[in-house]
């Protein structure tokens, strides 16, 4: 037992000690999948450290919502200089906390399908939510949200819970935006097609891959993963004529940072080509400021919705409670 104790202590010490070769340390809080070996984190860290003579330290703190709640818990005492990985459903709450400073940048060359005017948060990637399907199992998919709700009686879908998952919340807002006051009845009509509602994206997606449902709420960029990493072109995203809702992932600088200049440098680096070109095949989202021609071929070939839907963050924040209640009541009846 003693040996195990020692090895446990040793591995914690080894991992907190960390490599720190002089110069400043920039601490970036982000979500788990960003920092994993196969995520963007390691490449971005290497690229930034080449140019900054500093130590870039990513701290993973669960998913996007967990990152924000951690910052709120830590308050002014936080070690973080930058938070990377919130989406526009969380930015209103984040701004209200007063913990974030204006980014002070003038972003150029943004390739989002919407205008970006946020003074506090800068986007680094984005994607359209979409229902993803396998065209060997489902030859023909709905062409609009309206069709999804009203037609295809035998279709089965799996979605995420808006109370525990950001895609789930995105879907509820998407429904609200497309169906407005009729959202509740649209949810009731959709109810019979919903196989189940999962805690997070991972459970839903793996249930879809295992054949539990015809479609899963994910992103239009999901098929690019299967095409590039698995050489599988059977996964498709349904493009809706009445629009697909957006998710925009952003980063912000904390007011409490003592490395303001370095933080600014990182935010600028975030929108530079080097960072941006790492994003598609590691985070599987569209980079926020990369020319379309520089995208990997499989990304460039993805079908693109004509209508991009997104509430302003303060609207999303104001609508959230009621939209979730509407969803819950419709599916509980």
């Amino acid at each position: 037992m003693k040996k195990f104790l020692i090895s446990a202590v040793a591995c914690v010490v080894a991992q907190t000690g960390g490599a720190f070769a002089g110069g400043q340390t920039l601490t970036v809080y982000t979500y788990d999948s960003f920092v994993s070996d196969w995520g963007p984190g390691p490449q971005i860290e290497a690229a930034f450290e080449r140019s900054c003579a500093c130590d870039l330290k990513f701290v993973a703190a669960g998913d996007g919502a967990a990152v924000l709640s951690r910052i709120l818990l830590e308050g002014e005492r936080t070690e973080a200089d930058i938070v990377l990985g919130l989406d526009t459903n969380l930015t209103a709450a984040a701004r209200k906390s007063g913990l974030f400073a204006p980014h002070g940048q003038e972003p150029k060359g943004l390739t989002l399908p919407i205008e970006w005017n946020d003074e506090y948060f800068l986007p680094y990637d984005w994607g359209y939510f979409a229902f993803v399907y396998d065209n060997t199992r489902l030859p023909e998919a709905p062409g609009s949200f309206k069709e999804l709700v009203e037609e295809y009686p035998d279709l089965s879908i799996v979605i995420q819970d808006p109370r525990s998952s950001t895609p789930g919340l995105g879907l509820v807002l998407w429904m609200k935006m497309v169906h407005g006051d009729r959202a509740a009845s649209a949810w009731s009509a959709l109810d019979s097609k919903i196989v189940t509602v999962t805690k997070g994206w991972s459970e839903a997606y793996s249930m879809f891959l295992d054949g539990e449902a015809d479609m899963v709420l994910s992103y239009t960029t999901s098929p690019a993963y299967h095409a590039i990493a698995e050489g599988d072109s059977s996964k498709k995203a349904a493009i809706f004529a009445d629009g697909n809702y957006l998710q925009v992932e952003v980063a912000g600088k904390l007011t409490s940072t003592e490395n303001g200049d370095l933080a600014d440098k990182f935010l600028a680096f975030m929108l530079a080509d080097e960072f941006q070109s790492i994003i598609p095949t590691t985070n599987w989202m569209y980079p926020a400021a990369l020319d379309r021609n520089s995208l990997p071929q499989e990304f460039a070939e993805l079908p693109v919705p004509e209508i991009a839907l997104l509430y302003e963050d303060f609207e999303a924040e104001a609508l959230r409670k009621d939209a979730i209640a509407e969803w819950r009541d419709a599916l509980t009846r």
Binding site: M1, F4, L5, A8, V9, C11, V12, Q15, T16, G18, D32, S33, V35, S36, D37, W38, F58, V59, A61, G62, A65, L68, S69, R70, L72, L73, G75, A93, S97, S156, D161, R163, S164, D191, I194, V195, T196, V197, T198, K199, W201, S202, E203, Y205, S206, M207, L209, D210, G211, E212, A213, Y225, A229, W284, R320, A325, R328, D329, L331, T332
Partner: protein, 527 residues
């Protein structure tokens, strides 16, 4: 009967109670005190209709899950107890396996068998029937029985083997029919052990969250744990989270009081546990019933495990390099947590057994409270408590060991307490009259008869700790990953295949630990 406490045991027992308080009352209090820290500031606690619905569903599914698990466990445990068959010892060990599966892995395994595209549906479709759909209450119950039937079986099986064999021999000799034997020997035993097992499972199921969502089919199946999650993660409302956590504790205590109040301990006295062949079990129908019970159990528990194995085994060679340090981290944490939790759990159980009825029950119920604690509340509460003083990253190991130990305390106490009560009852007077004290009392008297349940509970504690994900998240230093975290990260990055491989590795490692402890405890014993 109250007996003077051994000082060493009293001290460790008190430490165990403090550990339980640190994961239950302390985090909730911390959340209350800090309720103005975050954005949400609901001064008064509103209970919405949705909360009531969640509460009702929580109670319903917890009650049914526990009742079904315990009722089914009786014939299964009886069959395993009285039959000798090839692989019996292995089966008893494998019974620990479902309990230690990480939720997401168990769901995948269950769906491979019971899902819309699962094996059973495939058979039905090829035979011309409709596919089955388990989503809804039935899916939730299926998963909870899958997790907990084996646990209930193990607990009841241990109780069965605590009936001195001499009693069965005597019953045979005086010509008791099997139903008389059941009424006079087995039923009183069940009455003393089944309520505890029921309570344990009901509390485990009441705080279930991800399984309920995945298989529950939608917001009709919602538990309080989800409301707590939402309050912390999206509403940033610590006060509401604390209130909900209190409601969850109140449910736990209410369950415990109702179940344990009517629970009567039963003394069978001692025996030298001679081997004894019970002849009436060899009637044809008895053999048929036992074979059916054991066969059904193997199919029910074994098929999803087989599915997990088949999905994962081909992907083991493709695991990413970060899997291996994560495996070592997980094992190290599990070993540390297990050492702490078994030490504290043993002391607490012996202490409870030596207390008189009322204080004994009160401490027992308090120790069960950890099962009703929300991992997210614990993590958030301890984080708020410690972060002003120390960097949480420096506390990853002690906090994880503490929390894991306290979280497994209810299980350990549940498994050890019946054996402790019996030991205290049988040997207590002897210990007192011989004046054996301190460490020698534990070593010479308690340990030999507690070894087998202690091994089982160490196995459970180790496996629980291996599968744990929730609490450490806030304390884990950068780059410090545990194996369950790697599984979730892989799964969250489309790498389902590798995730299934890593999940299998996690299952195998947890099972190896469980097996080592459990078998270690049972060597030379009759389960």
């Amino acid at each position: 009967m109250a007996r003077r406490a051994n000082p060493l045991i009293a001290l460790a027992g008190a430490a165990a109670i403090i550990a339980v308080a640190l994961v239950t009352l302390v985090p909730v209090a911390t959340l209350w005190i800090n309720s103005d820290r975050l954005l949400g500031r609901s001064a008064e606690f509103e209970v919405s209709a949705a909360d009531i619905a969640a509460l009702r569903f929580t109670l319903l599914q917890a009650f049914l899950s526990a009742a079904i698990s315990v009722v089914l466990a009786v014939p299964v445990a009886r069959a395993i107890f009285r039959r000798k068959f090839f692989g019996r010892e292995l089966l008893i060990s494998v019974l620990g396996a479902p309990f230690l599966l990480p939720v997401i892995v168990a769901v995948i395994g269950l769906l491979a068998v019971w899902g819309r595209s699962g094996w059973i549906s495939a058979v039905l479709i090829s035979a011309g029937y409709e596919r089955i759909s388990i989503y809804g209450l039935s899916g939730v119950l299926l998963a909870h029985v899958f997790f907990n039937l084996p646990l209930a079986t193990r607990i009841i099986l241990q109780a069965w083997s605590r009936i001195p064999a001499e009693h069965f021999r005597l019953a045979e000799q005086i010509g008791m029919s099997p139903s008389d034997q059941f009424r006079h020997l087995e039923w009183p035993m069940l009455r003393s052990v089944a309520p505890g097992a029921f309570l344990l499972i009901a509390l485990i199921c009441a705080s279930s969250f991800a399984v309920v969502l995945a298989l529950g089919g939608g917001p009709r199946a919602t538990t309080l744990e989800l409301a707590i999650f939402e309050a912390i993660r999206f509403d940033f409302d610590l006060g509401r989270a604390a209130s909900l956590a209190l409601v969850q504790f109140a449910i736990g205590v209410a369950f415990a009081v109702v179940v344990l109040a009517g629970n009567r301990e039963i003394g069978f006295g001692g025996g030298i546990q001679l081997n004894f062949e019970n002849w009436s079990k060899n009637r044809t129908w008895a053999i048929a019933i036992d074979a059916f019970a054991i066969g059904s159990l193997i199919a029910f528990v074994g098929l999803p495990l087989l599915a997990i194995f088949l999905e994962g085994v081909g992907k083991l060679p493709t695991l990413p390099p970060e899997t291996w340090p994560a495996l070592i981290n997980s094992i190290s944490i599990a070993m540390l947590s297990t050492a702490v939790s078994v030490f504290l759990g043993l002391a607490l159980s012996v202490r409870i057994a030596s207390l008189s009825r009322f204080p004994g029950r009160a401490v027992e119920i308090f120790s069960m409270l950890a099962l009703s604690a929300s991992p997210l509340v614990i993590g958030t509460g301890l984080f708020l408590l410690l972060q002003p003083f120390v960097s949480p990253f420096n506390l990853a190991l002690p906090v994880t060991a503490l929390v894991n130990s306290a979280m497994s305390m209810p299980l350990i106490v549940r498994i050890l307490l019946p054996a402790c009560r019996r030991t205290v009852e049988v040997y207590g007077p002897l210990v007192d009259s011989l004046g054996i004290r301190g460490w020698s009392a534990i070593r010479l008297v308690y340990w030999p008869s507690l070894r087998s349940p202690a091994g089982f509970s160490a196995g459970i504690a180790a496996a629980l700790s291996m599968g744990d994900l929730g609490v450490v998240a806030l304390f884990a230093p950068p780059e410090f990953a545990t194996l369950p975290l790697v599984v979730y990260r892989l799964m969250g990055a489309y790498r389902t295949d590798q995730a299934e491989g890593a999940a299998l590795l996690l299952v195998m490692a947890s099972f190896a630990l469980f097996f080592a402890f459990d078998r270690g405890g049972r060597l030379g014993h009759h389960a």
